[in-house]
């Protein structure tokens, strides 16, 4: 009998979500969002979405918690008590009922004959499988010509679709990250207004802030442990970056893991030390250069006479190698942009309190 792992994890998720809704202590709620994303990543793994789980793990457990904590340090740590309102319950109830009514026409969970699985993705899987199993190059070539379809020929179908079939879409997503980071920089880089409020003007008893000088040797164990671990995190990020063609991983995940390593350094050693190790100016250039690398691959393929982001043209003798080169470069661009964007956002949010 198979274990009802999914049911158990869903129950955990629901109770965590309800607890987040009920808690007035925002710090505790922030920690529960960490648990929430750990649980959801576990559920993604059970549902076969390893790449999604990878991203959620890196984002939710490390970076998202840090960002929310940075914001909490600048605002209040507790929310005001408020009476339970009836109207939101009614709205939510009606919306939920409507959505559940909508699912009644959907195919059952895990149905292999569902409409979703029959069109585009079935074709992708078929092409990629054929390209993978016909090991020698000629077979790949003939598979291409025979089918009039382009194949990528990498084990990880998700990476193939992400960087090649839907490369245009991913380019758009990277641009969104770029734009959002510019927005954060514009909002938080400016000098703070003189008579601005801080959270200390309305401290509410739960303020954990205490001004206490701290000597270096007090944190010696944490410093040594993290010093030993940060290189491993970076090495692992590089592995994820370049192994993403063969296993779960890729530019997005690697970027977030790399940023998590840099943020760990900043949290342990302080923002000033972090600034001298990773200057903000470099990060700004990094965001731009990653995006340019991605777009540049597209422009090169355009200038060579193919479509935008058509990597076949990058190696005229063997289009499969061209595909692999293109995906490598594009993922590298994504990784650089995401790393620098996440670190810049951390600088913005954490550095705001120090000015």
């Amino acid at each position: 009998m198979p274990l009802p792992i999914e049911i158990v994890l869903f129950l955990f998720l629901l109770s965590t979500a309800i607890a987040i809704a009920r808690l007035e202590d925002l710090f505790a709620a922030a920690m529960l969002t960490g648990i929430f994303s750990l649980l959801s990543a576990g559920l993604f793994t059970i549902m076969d979405a390893v790449d999604v789980a990878f991203t959620e793990a890196a984002v939710g457990a490390g970076v998202a918690t840090v960002f929310i904590l940075c914001t909490l340090s600048l605002t209040a740590k507790r929310e005001y008590q408020q009476p339970t309102k009836v109207l939101p319950f009614i709205v939510v109830g009606i919306t939920g009922a409507a959505l559940i009514y909508g699912t009644l026409d959907m195919p059952a969970y895990g149905d292999p004959d569902a409409v979703t699985h029959r069109h585009l993705s079935a074709k992708f899987i078929e092409i990629e499988e054929r390209a993978m199993f016909s090991q020698n190059e000629h077979a790949v070539e003939s598979a291409r010509h025979g089918n009039e379809e382009k194949a990528v020929g990498l084990p990880n179908i998700v990476t193939s679709i992400l960087a090649s079939y839907r490369g245009y879409d991913t380019f758009g997503e990277v641009t969104v990250i770029f734009t959002a980071t510019i927005g954060v920089m514009l909002l938080l880089r400016g000098r703070r207004h003189k008579k601005s409020f801080t959270s200390q003007s309305r401290s509410d008893g739960n303020d954990v802030v205490k001004e206490q000088p701290m000597r270096m040797r007090e944190k010696i164990i944490l410093r040594v442990v993290s010093k030993a671990f940060i290189p491993f995190i970076f090495m692992f990020a590089l592995y994820v970056q370049f192994h993403g063609d063969f296993g779960p991983g890729g530019g997005f995940q690697a970027g977030v893991i790399f940023a998590a390593g840099i943020i760990l350094y900043g949290v342990i050693f302080g923002l000033d030390t972090m600034r001298s190790a990773v200057p903000e100016r470099v990060l700004v250039y990094g965001i731009i250069s990653g995006l340019i690398l991605y777009g540049g691959v597209g422009i090169v393929s355009l200038l060579s006479g193919a479509n935008f982001l058509d990597y076949d043209i990058l190696d005229t003798h063997n289009p499969a190698h061209g595909q692999h080169l293109g995906i490598l470069l594009v993922e590298l661009g994504v990784g650089i942009t995401v790393t620098c964007a996440m670190t810049t956002i951390f600088y913005g949010l954490a550095g705001r309190g120090k000015q």
């Binding site: 954990v208 206490q212 007090e218 944190k219 164990i221 944490l222 442990v225 993290s226 030993a228 671990f229 491993f232």
Partner: protein, 109 residues
């Protein structure tokens, strides 16, 4: 030889979860924060370590085994480090050792 490895790995895979659950019960029932760190320590190092060790014995010589060894090393170094930082922070914030207080109260009564 294979049978010995099998028995060893299954023993690890059974004892590990039991230790995890025992530590979990300790996390719920022990009186104060510092005692609870001890309970968490059982699950995080010994329980988790035994489960991973059982998986290593199941995996045999492969890349999977290397990754599992890395996980076990990371766990054994990270968790005590994090718990140490936590206990230090709790001490700096003035979290009390409850059981000791009760004893003191009992002594003064």
């Amino acid at each position: 030889m294979v049978a010995v490895l099998e028995i060893l790995s299954w023993t690890c895979l059974v004892v590990g979860p039991i230790l995890c659950i025992i530590g979990g019960i300790g996390l719920l029932r022990l009186p104060d924060f510092y005692a609870r760190t001890h309970a968490a320590g059982i699950t995080d190092t010994l329980g988790a370590g035994l489960i991973i060790l059982g998986l290593i014995l199941q995996a045999g010589f492969s890349l999977v085994m290397v990754k599992l060894i890395f996980i076990i090393i990371f766990m054994l170094l990270i968790n005590p480090g994090a718990t140490h930082g936590l206990a230090k922070a709790a001490y700096a914030q003035g979290v009390k050792v409850e059981s000791e207080e009760e004893e003191l109260d009992a002594a003064t009564d």
